[in-house]
C-alpha cells in the first residue's frame, strides 16, 4: 500500500495530518489520542491500586483477610460486561461514546474513594468498598473492546500491530508512573491518602477529556472498505437487529475468530499470574517483599520500551507467529523462577525484562491479530470475545496454579505450567498464519 494511499485514507477518516508522514512506526493521531487517554487512566487507577493495601489496613482499619477479598474483587471483575460494551459499540456504531461511558464510570468511582473516608464506619463500609471496586472494574470492562476497535479502525491493516504497540506502550507508561506518583505524594504528605485520591480523580477526568478532544470516531463503512471482502461486508451489514447474546454467538461462529479465541484462552490457561512469579522469585532471594511493587514497575517499563518495536516486527513477520513465539520469554522466566539462573538481583532484573518482552509480544499483538480478522461492524464484539477468553483463561490458570501450589508444591506447579506452555506453543508454532496480514484478508480456514 502506497504512502499516498495511506495519507488519503487518513484524511478521509478525519485523523491527524501528521499521520503517514514518516516511516513504518508513525501511527495516526487517533492512536496517540487513545494512548494518552489510557496513559492518564492507568496513572489514575494504578495510583489507587498501589496505595489501597496501606490505606485499607492503616486508615480504614481493615482486617488482612478482607483485604484479600477486596483484591480478588479487583482482579476478577465483571467479565460479561465486556460483551455488553462491545455489543453497544458495534450496534450504535459509536465506539468513542461507548468507551467514554466506561472511562467516565471509572472516573466517578475515583471520586467515590475521595468521599468515602469521611463516612467510613467499620463493618458497614465493606459493601461500599466492594461497590466502588466493582463499578470501577465495570467501567474498564465497558471501555476495553470499543477502544481497541477504535484503534484498529484508525490505521491501515498493515500497521495494526504497530498501532497497538504504541497504545500499549503509553498504557504501560501510565501503569509505571501511577505508583511512583502515588508514593511521591505520600512521601511528601505522609498519610494524606485524600491527596492521592484527589490527584487520581483529576487524572481520570483528564483521561476522559483526552478521549473526547483528541480522538475521532471512525466510521466502519470507510474503514471496512480498506480490507474486508464483500462476504464480510454483507454479514456485517445485517447488524442492528440482534441483542447482545445472539450477536456474541454470531461473532463466535466465525471460524477464523474462533481460532483466535481458542488461541487466547489456551495461552491464558498456561500463563502463571505475575503475582505468583514475583512471590516465588522473592522466596528464593534474601530480598524483601517491599520490592514487589518495584518489580511491577520494572515489568511495565520493559513492556513500554519493547511494545513498539515488537509491534512493528509483528506487522512484518506475522502477528500469530510473534504472539506464539512471544511466550518464549515467559518460558525462560519460569526457568528463572525454578532456580536455573543467576542469583539476586540479576534473576529479578532478567525476569522483569523477560516478562516485559512477553507482554510486548502478546498483549497488543493479540488485539491486532483479532482486529485484522474482524469485519468492522462487529469488531468491538469480536475483541470483547478475545478479551473475555484471555481473562477466563487467566482466572482458571490462577485457580489451578494456587491449587497445585497448595496441595503439591510450588515447584511442581511451575513445572506443570511450563510443560503445558511448551506443548501449546509447539502445537501452534507450525500452523500457518491465517489472514493476519493485509494481503490475506479472507476468512481463514480452520487448520
Amino acid at each position: 500500500m502506497s504512502r499516498l494511499g495511506q495519507l488519503t485514507r487518513e484524511r478521509r477518516a478525519g485523523v491527524g495530518a501528521d499521520a503517514g508522514a514518516g516511516a513504518g512506526w508513525r501511527v495516526p493521531a487517533n492512536v496517540w489520542g487513545l494512548g494518552v487517554t489510557s496513559l492518564l487512566t492507568d496513572i489514575s487507577s494504578e495510583m489507587i491500586v498501589s496505595v489501597l493495601p496501606a490505606y485499607l489496613v492503616l486508615t480504614a482499619g481493615f482486617a488482612p483477610l478482607l483485604l484479600g477479598v477486596a483484591t480478588s474483587l479487583h482482579e476478577g471483575g465483571p467479565l460479561l460486561v465486556t460483551w455488553i460494551g462491545g455489543w453497544a459499540a458495534d450496534r450504535s456504531g459509536r465506539r468513542k461514546l461507548t468507551a467514554a461511558c466506561g472511562y467516565a464510570l471509572s472516573a466517578v468511582c475515583r471520586l467515590g474513594w475521595l468521599l468515602l473516608p469521611a463516612r467510613i464506619l467499620p463493618g458497614r463500609a465493606v459493601s461500599e468498598l466492594a461497590l466502588l471496586i466493582v463499578s470501577d472494574r465495570m467501567g474498564k470492562a465497558i471501555r476495553t473492546a470499543p477502544r481497541d476497535a477504535l484503534i484498529s479502525l484508525s490505521v491501515r491493516p498493515a500497521q495494526l500491530a504497530t498501532a497497538f504497540g504504541v497504545h500499549r506502550a503509553l498504557d504501560a507508561a501510565g501503569a509505571a508512573a501511577g505508583p511512583v506518583l502515588a508514593f511521591t505524594l505520600l512521601w511528601h504528605f505522609p498519610r494524606r491518602f485524600d491527596i492521592v485520591f484527589f490527584a487520581s480523580f483529576i487524572a481520570a477526568l483528564l483521561g476522559v477529556a483526552a478521549l473526547l478532544l483528541l480522538v475521532r470516531e471512525q466510521h466502519p463503512v470507510d474503514a471496512d472498505q480498506r480490507d474486508q471482502s464483500g462476504e464480510r461486508d454483507a454479514r456485517g451489514s445485517s447488524r442492528g437487529t440482534t441483542h447482545v447474546w445472539s450477536e456474541a454467538w454470531r461473532v463466535f461462529a466465525d471460524p477464523a475468530l474462533r481460532r483466535v479465541i481458542i488461541l487466547a484462552a489456551g495461552f491464558g490457561l498456561v500463563t502463571i499470574n505475575d503475582a505468583f512469579v514475583y512471590v516465588l522469585l522473592m522466596q528464593r532471594s534474601p530480598a524483601h517483599t517491599h520490592w514487589i511493587p518495584l518489580l511491577y514497575a520494572g515489568t511495565a517499563a520493559a513492556f513500554l520500551l519493547l511494545a513498539v518495536p515488537i509491534g512493528a516486527l509483528a506487522d512484518r513477520a506475522g502477528r500469530q507467529r510473534v504472539f506464539v513465539l512471544g511466550h518464549v520469554p515467559l518460558l525462560l522466566a519460569y526457568a528463572i523462577v525454578l532456580g536455573g539462573a543467576p542469583a539476586w538481583p540479576a534473576n529479578a532484573i532478567l525476569c522483569v525484562l523477560l516478562l516485559g518482552g512477553y507482554y510486548a509480544s502478546t498483549d497488543g499483538v493479540l488485539a491486532s491479530l483479532a482486529g485484522g480478522l474482524l469485519p468492522a461492524p462487529v469488531r468491538a464484539m469480536g475483541l470483547a470475545w478475545v478479551d473475555t477468553a484471555v481473562s477466563v483463561g487467566r482466572l482458571c490458570s490462577s485457580m489451578l496454579f494456587g491449587l497445585l501450589w497448595t496441595h503439591v508444591s510450588a515447584r511442581t506447579a511451575v513445572l506443570t505450567f511450563a510443560a503445558a506452555l511448551f506443548l501449546i506453543m509447539a502445537s501452534f508454532a507450525f500452523r500457518p498464519e491465517d489472514g493476519t496480514t493485509c494481503t490475506t484478508g479472507t476468512t481463514g480456514a480452520p487448520a
Binding site: 493495601p53 481493615f62 483477610l65 505520600l186 512521601w187 494524606r192 491518602f193 491527596i195 490527584a199
Partner: protein
C-alpha cells in the same frame, strides 16, 4: 473543532488539572486521622466519641482491658483503656501511644508500630511502662501481627510477616523474637532455638514460628511452628533456648491464666479460615468453641479463666468480642471499634 484546536484545549485542561491538584493540596484540610485536631470533625460520631475520651499519662489501677482504638477520628490507632467491669457508654481512656498491635501485663507493655505510608515502609517495636515511657525502639523486618508479654512482665514476644501479608496466603513466612522488657533488647529469634520432636532433634529450613503465649514464670511458653504444610503446637523455654513439639493442627495458642487450657485457631479443612478450639492440657481433649459461623484470625486473650476476648469483623459490628470457653453461650460484642485486646484482672 479542528484537531489543532482540540489539542490546545487538551493542553489547557492539563494545566488546569495540575493547578487544581496544587490548589487542593494547599487548601484541603487533612482527613487522615491523628494529623491535626480538626480531623476529628470528619464525622459527628467520631468527634463526639473523641470529645468524651479522657487523655491519661499513666496506667490506671485495678482491672482493665487495653486495646487499639479503631473508632474513626483523630484518636484512631491510639492505645485505649477501659476499666473493668465495663459500664455501658463509658468513655475510653486514651494513652499517648499509637500502636498497630499492643499487649500489656504486670507493668510492661509492647507496642508495635507500622508506618506503611512511606516507601519502604517502616516497622518498629518498643517496650513501655506504666507511665507510657518508651524504651529504645527495635526495628522490625515486616508488618507486625502478634504481640504478647509474659504474665510476670519480664519478657515480650513479637511476630512479624517477612513475606506475604496474611496467614491465608500459603507462601507467608514469619519471624518471632523474644524481648527482655527491662532493657528493651532482643533476647533471641525462635528460629535460633533448638526443636525436638518425640525427643529427637527436629530441623528444617522452612521452619516458621509465630503466636507466642507465655506461662506465669516468664520462661516457659507455647507457640506455633509451621513446616511442610503442618502447624504444630510447641512448648519451649527461653532460658534453655529449646522447644518440644506437643501436637499438630494448632495455631496462635493462648494459655489460660490458670495454665490448664489453651485456646487456639484451627485451620478449616476445605476453605481458608479458622475456628477457635479449646485444648485441655491435662487430658489432651480438644473441642470447638461456638464462635458461630465465621472465621476468626486472631491470637485470643483470656478475660478470666472461663472467657476469652478476640477481634472480629462481623456484620453485627467490628471490634473485640467475648466468648465463654464452656461453649454454652454465643459470642457477644464487648467493645466496638477496638482491636488487639489485652486484659489485666
Amino acid at each position: 473543532m479542528t484537531p489543532r484546536r482540540a489539542q490546545l484545549f487538551f493542553l489547557a485542561a492539563c494545566v488546569v488539572s495540575i493547578l487544581t491538584i496544587a490548589l487542593y493540596i494547599a487548601v484541603a484540610r487533612p482527613q487522615a486521622p491523628a494529623s491535626s485536631p480538626s480531623a476529628a470533625a470528619t464525622t459527628a460520631a467520631a468527634s463526639a466519641a473523641d470529645a468524651r475520651a479522657t487523655l491519661i499519662s499513666a496506667m490506671p489501677s485495678g482491672p482493665i482491658i487495653l486495646f487499639r482504638n479503631a473508632a474513626p477520628g483523630a484518636l484512631y490507632g491510639r492505645l485505649a483503656i477501659q476499666k473493668l467491669p465495663l459500664t455501658p457508654d463509658a468513655a475510653p481512656l486514651i494513652a499517648p501511644l499509637s500502636c498497630e498491635r499492643v499487649y500489656y501485663a504486670a507493668g510492661a507493655g509492647i507496642c508495635l508500630v507500622a508506618d506503611e505510608a512511606r516507601l519502604p515502609p517502616r516497622y518498629l517495636a518498643y517496650v513501655f511502662d506504666d507511665t507510657f515511657a518508651q524504651r529504645p525502639a527495635i526495628t522490625l523486618t515486616g508488618p507486625p501481627i502478634r504481640a504478647r508479654v509474659s504474665p510476670d512482665g519480664r519478657r515480650a514476644a513479637v511476630t512479624v510477616f517477612e513475606s506475604g501479608h496474611s496467614y491465608a496466603d500459603d507462601a507467608f513466612s514469619t519471624k518471632t523474637q523474644v524481648i527482655e522488657t527491662s532493657s528493651g533488647k532482643v533476647l533471641g529469634d525462635l528460629e535460633a532455638f533448638a526443636v525436638r520432636k518425640d525427643g529427637q532433634p527436629f530441623a528444617s529450613i522452612d521452619f516458621n514460628f509465630w503466636g507466642v503465649t507465655f506461662a506465669r514464670d516468664g520462661d516457659h511458653f507455647y507457640a506455633t511452628l509451621k513446616t511442610k504444610g503442618e502447624r504444630y503446637l510447641v512448648k519451649g523455654s527461653v532460658d534453655a533456648r529449646v522447644m518440644d513439639v506437643v501436637r499438630a493442627g494448632v495455631e496462635c495458642p493462648s494459655l489460660s491464666p490458670d495454665e490448664t487450657m489453651i485456646v487456639f485457631k484451627k485451620p478449616l479443612v476445605r476453605e481458608v479460615g479458622w475456628r477457635l478450639h479449646v485444648l485441655v492440657l491435662a487430658s489432651g481433649e480438644e473441642r470447638p468453641l461456638n464462635q458461630v459461623r465465621r472465621s476468626i484470625d486472631d491470637q485470643v486473650d483470656w478475660f478470666d479463666n472461663r472467657h476469652i476476648v478476640y477481634h472480629d469483623s462481623a456484620s453485627e459490628g467490628t471490634g473485640v468480642w467475648m466468648l465463654s470457653v464452656d461453649g454454652t453461650s454465643p459470642p457477644r460484642l464487648l467493645l466496638p471499634n477496638a482491636y488487639s485486646p489485652a486484659v489485666r484482672q
